[in-house]
Symmetry: D2
Subunit: 483 residues, 4 copies
């Protein structure tokens, strides 16, 4: 059933993007940036470079550090401007075809685009475009953007781009590259992050600040929700082509997706996570001897919890960092052994102790079940599970790979039932207002929520056109490519 360690029972950001304009070794710099964004997508990556006359593309599955750092790969990406993309999954259709950035030779010239987020009306638009004769080569919503630009009646490239963007619904932080320009856009709600940086005079667009830090680049500012920036030899121009709306940044970026050393929308992620832990300690105290994180994502909240509760912080669970994404449990017999590929409990620490166990979220609940069982078998006297976010009750349609709603434990059970299911002595989630407090808001504004928190509340800030349709099954067009 569960192919990966503890059942791939977590949420996954689907993408990170990075671009640099006019800088020697552009593709090598993008490689560094994508490496720093690897946590936003581990399965495949792509880079498009422009060398002054031609565009070049490379797409590879695997980690950046194993693929794009090869001399031979970088030599196939010459040029002084480049954009890149790292991606969670290639499974589920099309293999490397769906790996971004996408590039097309339009009548207006070449244009490449990389995208973090999800266009919620992509399939609907695609069917329209097919009816007028467009041929699609992938199932990616990003290709839809290219076709919208290609078929726009706009006169200039920027007109066409704005025309195309105005057709899109959903979450999108885009980086684009033409022969003359690098562009960056965030959707009107600014659901996904995108920052502007500067490295020795060259401008950078990146999903997170940690991608600037890796090379010593300077953080300039966040791209604003609804902003389109156009970077040329002459500098940077800012346009707000969409109707203004109140921003709603994804609050889960703070809980889990973003890297702890990134600053996102002005806040430090590690700092927020410690505050989340402290809120949690205040909201749901437990009589306990030690605080133990589920590594690695639970660590900052556990530190915050331990400091607030004045309890010792202990690594009672050790993580094996050598688990590749492909660790298939090889035989049925092995599968039934309940092996501990990723985590091991440290009996000497846990034995006889009342343990506060801190994790970032509960998705299907299978991981929590196994972790708790492991901690109990290692001799813990009591297990008090504390979750650094509210119950995850709804699917995300904005670029996060969530199971369908019915598979989310919190959509099926009360907290008491969940505690029973994962067999803990007590279970508590952070409240939604506690979460908002941790990000320095007084509370969630029910009328005008300050963030996208749809996964906790089911309150989706955009229309979900494709979800309302009925027949979403499509065959991938197989033009070109290795199939």
């Amino acid at each position: 059933m569960d192919e990966t360690p503890f059942g791939d029972d977590s949420l996954h950001e689907e993408c990170g993007v990075f671009g640099i304009f006019q800088r020697t070794d552009a593709a090598a710099v993008v490689t560094l940036g994508l490496h720093a964004l690897q946590h936003r997508g581990q399965e495949a990556a792509g880079i498009v470079s422009f060398d002054g006359s031609q565009f070049h593309v490379e797409r590879h599955s695997g980690l950046i550090g194993d693929t794009f750092t090869k001399q031979s790969v970088l030599e196939r990406l010459p040029g002084s401007s480049a954009i890149g993309h790292t991606r969670y999954a290639t499974s589920g259709g099309g293999g490397l075809r769906n790996v971004q950035p996408f590039f097309a030779e339009l009548s207006a010239g070449g244009f490449a685009v990389a995208h973090n987020g999800n266009i919620t009306n992509a399939m609907t638009v695609q069917r329209e475009l097919q009816r007028r004769g467009s041929i699609f080569s992938s199932t990616s919503d990003t290709e839809t953007i290219l076709h919208l630009v290609a078929t726009s009646a706009g006169r200039l490239f920027v007109d066409k781009l704005i025309d195309a963007l105005s057709r899109l619904e959903g979450a999108f932080s885009l980086v684009g590259l033409s022969s003359k320009k690098m562009v960056g856009v965030r959707d009107p709600l600014g659901i996904r992050p995108l920052v502007l940086g500067e490295f020795e005079g060259s401008l950078i667009l990146a999903s997170e600040t940690c991608a600037l830090d890796i090379m010593g680049a300077t953080f300039v500012r966040d791209i604003a929700p609804g902003e389109l920036v156009i970077i040329t030899e002459d500098g940077i121009e800012s346009i707000f082509p969409f109707q203004a709306r109140r921003p709603r940044f994804c609050i889960f970026e703070y809980v889990y997706f973003a890297r702890p050393d990134s600053n996102v929308e002005g806040r430090n992620v590690y700092d927020i996570r410690k505050k989340i832990g402290a809120e949690l300690a205040r909201e749901s105290h437990a009589e306990a001897d030690i605080v133990v994180p589920v590594p690695d994502s639970g660590v900052p909240a556990a530190i915050g919890y331990a400091q607030e509760a004045n309890l010792p912080f202990e690594l009672g669970i050790i993580r094996n960092h050598y688990v590749g994404r492909t660790f298939i449990q090889p035989t049925d017999a092995i599968r039934h052994m309940g092996v501990k590929l990723k985590h091991n409990a440290n009996r000497r620490i846990l034995e006889g102790k009342r343990v506060v166990l801190v994790d970032d979220s509960i998705v299907r609940g299978t991981t929590s079940q196994k972790i708790v069982q492991m901690v109990r078998e290692a001799g813990a006297a009591e297990v008090h599970m504390r979750i650094a976010s509210p119950p995850t009750r709804a699917s995300c349609f904005y670029g996060v790979d969530t199971p369908e709603k019915g598979k989310l434990l919190a959509s099926r059970m009360t907290i008491e039932e969940m505690a029973d299911y994962i067999k803990v002595d007590s279970l508590a989630f952070l409240t939604i207002d506690g979460l908002y407090r941790a990000v320095d808001e007084p509370e969630r504004n029910r009328m005008m929520p300050q963030f996208c928190d749809a996964c906790f509340t089911g309150d989706y800030p955009t229309s979900l056109t494709d979800q309302d349709g009925t027949d979403n099954v499509r065959q991938l067009s197989l033009l070109g490519g290795a199939g």
Copy 2:
């Protein structure tokens, strides 16, 4: 300079096509057919199958027998209808992207197409389509056909197809596959071959009859020039959608491209080649002791020559069949050794003999030079070169990979100069009328030539729209694919 043995100094057919409709193991049958057509393209191949609900595609570089015969590859091609394509070259842009068949999901449903020939206005049409917003994924003229179908205003699929075909100039023998139909088309002049076969009740389309023989299928008839056949569950329908024109089949198919055991347009290729040899013996007698072919392509003409001239036929040159297409001469020192990778002269046969050396054609002349030098070094007393075709003076734009005109030896030199250049005692080409006689015509009809013989005469039977333009440089769109 010349990377391949004797400088790749020959002409190459660019493609073979094969399709079968409604037959168990369709892809495996196509594999056999393509194997028999391997001489029409050795570098890469592709197959598209349809399994009743989905289309599947596989593209591989290398020989059919090394790629498509693998169980794992065939398992990815389920279904009872399939078409395939074998291709001369993947070099020069796009890698596997340019390997056919091409497939696209159109609004009318999926459609795959494989093509032998060359569309002489493909780039012109492509630019038009790009202006209206079509995005191309390859540099192949075949993709243009798909986009024409996709953007046609026709109502039914067949209407769209005819609409698209009517836009095409040049040579095309196409095989197409939709969810309901397999279609076959030859251009109005019928420049490239296409035959209809039948195998245990299932209809086949193939470039040559040898692809029927390999499986014991029956030859039904040639598809006629300008004919479109539509094969469905209900049988075969024949349409002539183009304005009627006098056919002009490529006469070089007889000289070199087609396999000797194929029957092409009613004539047996081996038989024609022997007749060519006999014509050559009659036209340009040489006082000699033995007739020696340049293997393998010169063999049938040499047999015909020897029988007509009543001279012994001898294998004075041995060919090493293990020369792969990739035999790079590894070092400069080696390159200058003038090594005999492909052919070796047999001194015991040649020593002291007056030799008639028979080859099919002279392209750049470099091979002939080396072969003659080798024969002389092996002790031949005299070398009389006899060429089984007229001088090749013009490029082909109908699907044959010819060097540009200026590199064709016969476009730069008289026959005497050529004899001098390749250092033979005498040199003679078959006359154009001799060639027509060998294919059972009384002579070439100057006013209405019976064949396309543009490579000998420069008389191109179609317009060459793309050649008239100036800027033919294009960047390949890089949508999807492994790059």
Copy 3:
């Protein structure tokens, strides 16, 4: 200069071993065990299985989870007994040839052996064997053991094995497999660990207890220094074939090599590391605001330090776990950027703070230099470096990949010079007696040290025969193998 992140400036255990006797899916179980031992060797691994009549071998470079979990690999390893080996490096000669276990068909039958440690007279013995006609296929000291068994005059297999072992000097924890037996041996000093476990009735030999935990196997006992255990269908037999000596287990296993959740020679590694941190806090107090570990290896000592010093423990440095071992800095320009591939400082945590920075050891000093610079650039007010071990002053010849002595920073500089070199406000190492106290000894017994601490003291507990010779250059024999 430094090819890997921060210059591969750390020590590496060279091997982990694991074997199981008579258990369904033996090779799959070994795969799990090796996965848990991955920290003892990340570059390559091998497994030999015995199926009742034949031995089978697989060797692969890369992580266990990426190679040995494949169905196809495990199918080539049938049988109910298997031993495996994971290895730090394949670089430096022979590629997969040097990957263990080694197997040979001896006249007495097949025998496979896997080895953790280093035979300090292997080359000397190898030259002797070559003089009598033995042909070596690898440069591995492990092959020497096989040849010693093969050429022993002993009558029975166990006699031959004891005969061979008696010739060896150095550190060795061996696991061997013949058609009837699995054997385990530790050298007389017990320098490397080896434990006996039991899993549902089948006996296991493994380098560390974490390899038992992963599958829920039971820890039985440590194999004793100088003990040879022989496991057959009839059970386990214990022999002490060597002259008895006072054991000297490698104390660095506690500092760095072993996994924190393992219990080694009766002590829990995480627990020892926390005690080390506490000793360090007591020995060398610093006025500071926060304690920050160099992740991951410095974490337990930092927790111990923080608890003892009553300072907040903070993740001021974030580690990027996606750094593969192959992250080559792609271009010169990039190399000079001083990029932070593996670690990033979190400015919001460090800014304005007096930081105690805890790391496990200093090898060349280059990593420490860069880490400190990074922490300072992130705004730390003061940096007080605390090292959880004494200065590393001498090379290890017992299976750890240490730079030669001259490259060890502590062999060239005083502590003050080192503090200056790495630019810290203060630098302190744990004392050797502090380290002994952390492992529950009152102090180091100068006359009869309780552990091997040669890397700190230069006091080698065995002779180093090969090191005393002069000509150690050898050509690898190239019998068989893919070269």
Copy 4:
């Protein structure tokens, strides 16, 4: 049953060898030589070079032109002396381990050896060596030679080599390379060929003269049966270390193995094959219209037959040269179609004709059956099969891959029964005396046969020690190598 086209129903020479001493780009020259010897082994090849201080080895499966011509491969083979080996099969044990040349570092220095032939007491000697402690890494008889040299009590390298050779029985044409010398040896009977050549001052050893021709090297002389040549900087020395015996060269080399353009033991192979055809025409006349070879091996004999019988020589069967060794008939249905992967009959040539069909030999008879059926289905009125050798009745133990005796058609049937089995109108083999006449002997000398003709007569000229034993099953030692 039969996986390859027409069932791999032919005999295979197992090896070709080539070496050059002191010449720039030695490995590149060996690559050329092996390419010319590709017909003696198509599945794998190896080269060992010596660069003045180190030996280097590369082994690859596949054709020389696809593997050893790569720049990257040749760069790993530096040095001015090199020897190489091409090999028929890697199947049946050990993969690339069994690919020669073999190299070992002996106490006397490095030594590499490549071998054409078969040592008939190799296994017996190997068991002896194992008893005294030698460990084998392959199942190849060639490794036995290395171990004999390694364990010889001889003082100098040449003494050791002669000592080792004196232990061998069977057929061996060896090329060896040490740091100072290249050596060549033929067994006392000279069963396999070996020639000495010279290329711009550098001496060459090669299996056949065609390997000299490819680079324009000069043929010096055949190495004599029983001769050992030692090539050093000072020139060439010749030793006859074996007891003198009457030579018995393999007569089948003329019939099938050697390349037609080679001169073997003073005779031209193509010339002999034509004489064989002429003898056949004289011995067994058939009333017929045309002579058709089974291509390619039957061609020279068919030319000889046609000239002698004064009948037209026609290519009535076309061979598809693109059949790789791996053309697996992909599905059961396809397998039962009786597809013509390799040969196709040309109906226009054969229809209504009385055909003399010439092939080199009949092994299992399955190919002949299919070829005849194909010729009949193409309309031949009569089929008279003429075989250019006597019936193959016994296995070869001297380096040719023959089926066991019971599977040889001629060992189970009379000629009449065979004619019936393959369904021909008449069948005739060349007589043994006819074959001797074709090689310019008056007849076979029954008392002292001039050639090894064991495959026709069962008269083996050496003892077959290994065949007399009972237990030949061995496990390959798995020291080193990728397994």
